[in-house]
């Protein structure tokens, strides 16, 4: 299992966001994507999550271009974006049950335990706080297990205790042979982390 991307270029609304980004990711590794606002962190993550087509360049999973076999790639990937992807009219448990059902998994209770959501799991998501919603969203990572995690600002609106909890889960995932791509402004001081700085890349390109 490995993710590999070569000379990715992203153009949004005729504007060049980034150019010639190369990266690779192997089991047991975390890649921390850094860069200031507008440097294209989210766009890069969305390209790698199959949600955006790059203007040039290829992304390959296990040596196969993901354009050729997107279904297989999507099975191996969990993406957490800015939005919570939660239905306000359903409880956290119902939301997770839906996602695990939809992706044909069944580890909802485990996920609720991992993010300490059991006490609030049956309230409508509407009344939860921003941090509780974020945890409910992150719980999808456990409820629908996949080797590759693509995480866009996963710890925003979490307090320090839960950031620690999330960090432990992330490191455990990687220790067990998973891999993760992470875009965040905060330094999580993770072990075994490599960095990709989009600011530097755009400097070189100029």
């Amino acid at each position: 299992m490995s993710l590999y991307a070569q000379s990715l270029t992203c153009i949004r609304q005729d504007r060049l966001i980034f150019n010639a980004v190369d990266l690779s990711l192997n089991p047991g590794e975390i890649l921390w994507v850094k860069g200031r606002n507008g440097s294209g962190k989210t766009s890069l993550l969305r390209i790698l999550a199959c949600l955006l087509k790059p203007a040039t360049g290829i992304v390959s999973w296990n040596g196969t271009d993901i354009e050729e076999d997107p279904e297989h790639y999507k099975e191996n990937l969990q993406y957490v974006g800015h939005q919570d992807a939660l239905k306000m009219a359903m409880s956290a448990r119902e939301n997770l049950e839906f996602w695990s059902d939809y992706t044909e998994n069944s580890t909802v209770d485990q996920a609720l335990d991992a993010f300490q959501l059991q006490p609030i799991a049956d309230h409508p998501t509407q009344i939860l706080s921003a941090g509780q919603k974020k945890r409910s969203n992150l719980a999808r990572l456990i409820a629908c297990p996949a080797p590759l995690w693509i995480l866009d600002e996963p710890v925003s609106s979490l307090d320090t205790d839960y950031i620690g909890l999330f960090k432990d889960l992330l490191e455990k995932h990687v220790r067990n042979g998973g891999m993760a791509l992470l875009a965040t402004h905060q330094d999580l001081s993770l072990s075994r982390v490599r960095q990709l700085d989009l600011n530097q890349i755009s400097e070189v390109a100029r």
């Binding site: 999550a49 199959c50 949600l51 955006l52 087509k53 279904e71 999507k74 099975e75 990937l77 993406y79 974006g81 800015h82 939005q83 919570d84 992807a85 939660l86 239905k87 306000m88 009219a89 359903m90 119902e94 839906f98 996602w99 059902d101 939809y102 992706t103 044909e104 999808r140």
Partner: protein, 221 residues
């Protein structure tokens, strides 16, 4: 199959929990139809004459009000992109959501049509024809509407544009739907009209999920 059922179940559950939206659509339908007797006068012959057309137009407009619900909420809270990363193809996601929309938003409209038809003095044969023609023709409303909803999902103020895009495409259904009811009232065979409606439904079933899926890909990018 499990994914399909999970999505169908979720969409129906959400529609059920947000029941106020359905109540509003039904009320709109009733009020819109009520306006016609007030506008043209209470003469029963006139009402019986225009009844089928009024009911079809009313159902069509009421359906239009519900279209933005097909994709809008899922698009805004990021659910749509997560669905796309799941095992179902986008075309299938679209189809599932269209089925849920038809069952939860259009079927109730059909269910109250007979009552409204009686209030407009539509002949008893016409009421049956009305139900049949709506059952066979209304999937077109959901299917074509889904294309319009997908095209306008990423827009602010998409609602007005949605009606501009969708209403001209609804015209054939309207014409054949009303014609079948009028045929039934005139004691003529209505099967040809219903078959044409069925043909429209099947044609839309083939084309629309693909068009809507292409439009959704565009919206998510």
């Amino acid at each position: 199959m499990r994914s399909f059922l999970a999505l169908l179940k979720r969409d129906m559950l959400l529609a059920y929990r947000q029941g106020s939206a359905l109540t509003m659509t039904l009320s709109f339908f009733v009020i819109a139809v009520t306006l016609f007797p007030l506008g043209v006068g209470p003469e029963l012959n006139v009402l019986a004459r225009i009844g089928p057309g009024v009911l079809w137009v009313g159902a069509l407009l009421a359906c239009l009000l519900t279209l933005d619900r097909i994709f809008q909420a899922d698009f805004e809270d990021g659910t749509l992109e997560q669905l796309m990363l799941g095992p179902l193809s986008i075309e299938f996601i679209v189809l599932t959501k269209i089925i849920a929309h038809w069952v939860m938003s259009v079927l109730p409209l059909i269910a109250i049509t007979p009552i409204l038809a009686i209030s407009l003095n539509v002949h008893a044969d016409g009421i049956w024809a009305m139900i049949f023609s709506l059952l066979i023709g209304s999937p077109v409303l959901s299917l074509i509407g889904a294309v319009g909803a997908a095209l306008t999902v990423a827009m602010r103020r998409g609602g007005v544009l949605l009606s501009l895009l969708v209403l001209p495409l609804y015209i054939p259904v309207l014409i054949f739907g009303v014609a079948s009811v009028e045929a039934a009232v005139a004691l003529m065979p209505m099967a040809p009209h219903l078959m044409l409606l069925g043909g429209l439904s099947l044609g839309a079933l083939v084309v629309c999920p693909f068009a809507a899926a292409a439009a959704l890909r565009l919206a998510v990018e």
